[in-house]
Symmetry: D2
Subunit: 348 residues, 4 copies
């Protein structure tokens, strides 16, 4: 059994991790950390896990001596900024770390500082971190000690875009990603915008041109294209709990066909159990992936406008956070990629 601890276990991503790990046949939850809820039974905050997760929350002092005890791996679901010390400490203690914050996703600390407005203070860990988008980096992840679990928006955008850019089917210029996210993406923090009254029956764009997931997306796309890529990324908040749908607009390279698109995806994802590429003319919806680790992808070459439209759907808390994190853990510990995360989507 893999001994597992969760830092920041009472946010929404932490709660999904806890749920998935509680049901994982090869994992044993040895601690659930939450500063805010120290000492409380976990099921007080999360009554769905009553009778399943009986742990009480503890508050881990990440600055202390051997803070993670016997853990083989620690999932870090702390807010952006707080995880740097926690991850560094794991590395020093010989404990593998899967970090769900943004702190280890951007390879270049200067780019990190530009977008996150704070210098990076764990450069050693940063230099060892592998970007945990399994379908792209599967082999590197297997040997990693620190994995930076991808952001929810980047996961949805990159899985649709990366293979086509890599295959040279779309231009590296003019990319636009228009994403629609459920409200759980904003976490369980108390903010006006996350109130039911403010977000129900409404849709809005936010962070236009400034959202912090942008450099993470561009870093991967630039790798795929072999040249710097800029993307216009517009996130939207829509009135549902779970799910992200990303609609991506790209310029096709001259003369390409839908068959080539299909082939590029087929090759990229032939061994990817969680990516479902739909036939031409069919498009995904978030309901079809909700509660699962799937990413569904649809595509269309619009010959009238000479543009490719890609649509991808994920559950933001699973493939966009906790599920992908467990998928990374499975690889890091030599397990089959699907162990513990093969739950089927729920419909309706």
């Amino acid at each position: 059994m893999i001994k597992v601890g969760v830092l920041g276990s009472t946010g929404y991503a932490g709660a999904e991790l806890t749920r998935l790990l509680a049901g994982h046949p090869e994992a044993e939850l040895i601690f659930l950390d939450s500063r805010r809820n120290e000492g409380q039974p976990y099921s007080v905050m999360y009554p769905h896990l009553r009778g399943i997760v009986e742990n009480r929350c503890i508050s881990v002092d990440v600055e202390g001596e051997k803070p993670y005890g016997d853990a083989d791996v620690v999932f870090c679901a702390l807010p952006h900024g707080l995880s740097q010390t926690a991850v560094q400490k794991g590395l020093e203690s010989g404990v593998k770390v899967i970090d769900l914050s943004a702190d280890f996703r951007i390879a270049d600390p200067k780019v990190y500082e530009t977008w996150y407005k704070t210098p990076h203070i764990a450069l050693d860990a940063l230099s060892q971190a592998v970007y945990g988008l399994v379908e792209i980096n599967r082999e590197k992840i297997k040997g990693a000690n620190v994995v930076a679990n991808p952001g929810c928006y980047p996961t949805s955008i990159l899985l649709a875009t990366y293979p086509l850019l890599k295959a040279g089917l779309i231009s590296s210029e003019g990319l636009i990603a228009d994403s629609k996210s459920g409200v759980s993406g904003a976490g369980r923090n108390l903010s006006d915008g996350s109130l039911y009254g403010q977000s129900n029956e409404s849709v809005k764009a936010y962070g236009i041109g400034t959202h912090r997931h942008t450099p993470e997306i561009e870093q991967l796309l630039s790798d795929a294209a072999g040249t710097p890529v800029l993307i216009q990324f517009t996130p939207h908040l829509i009135p549902m709990t779970r799910g992200i749908l990303s609609t991506i607009y790209a310029q096709p390279k001259k003369g390409i066909t839908e068959a080539e698109i299909a082939k590029a995806y087929a090759e990229a994802y032939q061994d990817a159990p969680f990516v479902r590429v739909l036939p031409s003319g069919e498009f995904p919806q978030t309901k079809a992936v909700a509660g699962s680790n799937f990413c569904d992808i649809g595509y269309k070459l619009d010959t009238r406008t000479n543009r490719i439209v890609l649509v991808s759907a994920i559950d933001n808390l699973i493939k966009g956070a906790a599920g992908q994190a467990v998928q990374n853990m499975n690889l890091m510990f030599g397990l089959k990629e699907t162990v513990g995360i093969s739950q089927m989507p729920l419909w309706p």
Copy 2:
């Protein structure tokens, strides 16, 4: 492996059955029946199961010779009224049947006719049918050939009320059940009231004093009390997809205490893996059971008004339909009760 067929597989209950059975380690789906969608790949209607359920729908002629082929068990998720022939045929063919309609829940055909406005035409099967509320009828179910799977509302009301009535803690008079159901309870039929525009952002009562689940509830409560019981049952439609919350008002027998209530539940459900009775003062919510086969129950003895208030929560499509049906199958085939239906609830 148990060979399983599903009649009426493309309604919401049928789809949940299909999903649960597709993941059941001891079951093999040998046919999915749907008159409406004959010949179509199942995942056209239910894209969440793309890549998981590859069957095409067939249309079974239940009047035909040996209509269920090699099946060991058939789940019948046909509309009320249509299932009588289908069940009778199963019985005659030596195939076990779990019927999700109301047709075999009411033991007395005259009561059935009064509430359903049509005579019962499968009296032989009716006489053998066992009411499949596992937590009450576990032993009878193990030997049954025909199981009448309980209605969603009755499940939520009976699990909270039966043990207290049986233990003599509440009066058999003056019972009121005020239930709140998500819209999926109305099924996938095209009706004005099930449109998003009609049901979103609204709540209404319906079928006041006339809902057909009433006699089913009263039949079981009368058994528990050993005397005829009437219940005032008011269902409501609320704007969510899954879940039923039932709030039940009962008169306590003189001098009883909350400790006695707790004890009655503890005894009734000590071996029931899917019932979670909450501590005094805590109450369930549907989110804590959504996606699972759990029924959560809370209780309060209000000494100011001298009344007991019970609250129970289920996922109407799982414990209220497909999950309970699989639970019945497990018992009928000697499996552990929880096989294939131990999915944890999803939160948020």
Copy 3:
């Protein structure tokens, strides 16, 4: 023009007051108070009123000299407890006050203290306060200087129940009110339970037997019955923004008929423009009153169980708060009751 100020203008009830008063042909908004948002343009918090309400919020010192300036009337939408001084001050300054908190609804300060756990410190104002349920207290309100605007739940329950109790058609014993409220009823405060992720796709009961609206309901019902009345009141939170539906269970007096019920309502509400009593067998839904000051009422005499079931629907922020408050203002200033609040409901 009536000069109007609003204390606590940036909560949901305050915002509805502001919206209704901005469109009221006889009212002029002279100040919008908000401690939290002092100095900010109102439309920053409430962009729907951009271009309509151009005021900046001020912070009124209710302890100061003549705090309400030239105002003819002040609406007090402060949290429970804070409004006592504010109302007392209005009375002393010769300014009429309509208080939307609970502080002046309970005539007996001892009962207030029992339920609100704090002594009442404005007994003078309390003694003059009129309970502003227009359809019951219309004449008293016309001459009032302090009006206690009813709670949302009490409004929905009392309008359905009061006339039948007054007419002696139902027993004063055994009353049960099972209410379902949209999330806006919890206000705009930042609390875990008001987050979209916690309240969407879920329903729960809360405050069973202890909700503070109970004594307010019982006070009026006792007046109607001429004898002390207890009610079992259970509020529920359901996933929608606006609306309350109350389902009320009552014991009919021996031999009464639905015609008598209809007659009692007709007499009580013949001059009430905002109450719509539905024909026998039809029941209200919150969508049919959303955005309006209407209260819709349905009733059923269930002869099988010998019980009366009443159902009422209101928009909790309008008839349950701001609309009713403006209705009170209209009466207090000799205007027609409907001025400024005759907006039609929105459907779908």
Copy 4:
């Protein structure tokens, strides 16, 4: 008083028309047509108008003699295809017609036939029809006998885009509109996709590259640009009842500034009471316009990517259908543009 009839009064757009006209101080509803609900009181289908609209539905034979009686104006809210005869007949009878279908929006019948797969059979009426986007065609509308009321998506896209294209600030190439609509946009027809269970908690794109609103948008944009314009238009269905948010991506002409954008909007909309252009850096949300005839517009010049992002929000049933239709009527009859449609948005 203007005598008004409504054809197709029981769809969602028809119902909003009926509601707005019932409250319009200069309009008198003389008939409400509905083939499906002939003879029924209107409030049976739409209980929110109980006591307000007492008409019974009639079924108008548009092929008959003088089918619209004394009407001064007829609103035609029939499905696409059915309205051609109805409009032609109005023209011949000297009755003004405001058509909410798509049948008279496309000036070129060949383009109509290409997208709608059926020839146009009312070419005379088509040649006289004015496209009723008030803010663009105000003067033409005043003298029109037939007004083609714009589609919901086109309204949201054109109001944001037209002025910038007209002012030469953005390129006529590379335009993309990514729109998100509430479910009421699909009308009250019984279809699987409009069921609560299918659309709640999900988002999907549809009609990618093929949606029939495309030529209508392109026709106006081509007028603005003085050259043929193609647009990539992707509609999405999101789980809310009312509202459309359109996010539009455009290429700025070299060297333009946000000040120029602001100026272009200010000039275009200085006399437009229903368009609210937000300050730079603020963006609209549908909640801020719900229940009103407003269109809110925000803009951003992203210098990093050299792209302009526009966001607009409307209530699809009001500014996107019935409200705009009444706005057209007001102009056609010499009334002030805002009469009867100045309801404020509802929040929350």
